[in-house]
Amino acid sequence: MSGTDLLLWFFAAASLAGGVLMLVARHPMRVALALIGSMISLAGIYAILGVHVIAVFQVLIYVGAVMVFMVYVIMLLDVRDPSFLQRYGRAVVPAVALAALLAGALGAAAGGGHTVTATELDALQPGRTPASFGVDAFSVSFLERYWLHFEVTTVLLLAAVVAAIAVVRTGRRRDG
């Protein structure tokens, strides 16, 4: 087993441990920290796979934007909330059973199926050049072939900003 494989196993175990911690931790801040650890381990996995752009965006967008936002909101809230003290609802046993069933079905589907490798895809499409996942190749492909999708996401982000402001304003009007 090479060094990269060891690192891959380490990051996989760390992200799994973060996921388990999320289920047991009582306070939402600890849940958020466990999720951040899990996401950073996933970014390490992406870096090992060679998809550096995605690894950077995982840290920038997920940890940097989404989770920082989440942590701010948690700090705004009351610590004596009853949902902080009592972690679980009533449906623990059926939920775990259902999730085990789901994991078994997904695992059987993933393990039984055949995933296409790069060499097989080369045989299917003779003119294809296997992509490298560097920043330059990603940006060229992104802005040459997917510029329309990029523009659509900007519209989506604008709509999200307007909707967030609208939600906050209606709530304020109802209060005052």
Binding site: G19, V66, Y88, A99, A103, S141, V167, V168
Partner: protein, 100 residues
């Protein structure tokens, strides 16, 4: 166990863990975070397939999913805050009349 199998197993486990969290936990913010964990599992499988078949389209799709997830959380958190302000609690049990 080769690399693809390991990563797919990890993706399935992360998705299932997040699923348990969404079903079991009471706090609305923790529910949101468990949904993020499920999304991360799905993204991991997407990246695994993209890197195995050496296509850039998967990487671009992952980037677009990141943007959509950021937009989703920007809407979801104000909604959760409004709910918390109305019932003075983050417990989703306070909203159990929504099940009809």
């Amino acid at each position: 166990m080769d690399r693809t199998q390991l990563l797919l197993a990890l993706a399935v486990s992360l998705f299932s863990l997040g699923f348990v969290g969404v079903m079991v936990r009471r706090n609305a913010l923790v529910l949101l975070m468990c949904m993020e964990l499920m999304l991360n599992g799905v993204i991991l499988s997407l990246v695994t397939f993209a890197s195995r078949s050496a296509t850039l389209d998967g990487a671009v799709l992952v980037f677009l999913v990141f943007v959509v997830a950021a937009a989703e959380i920007a809407i979801a958190i104000p909604i959760v805050l409004l709910l918390a302000r109305q019932r003075r609690t983050l417990d989703v049990g306070a909203w159990s009349e929504l099940k009809g």
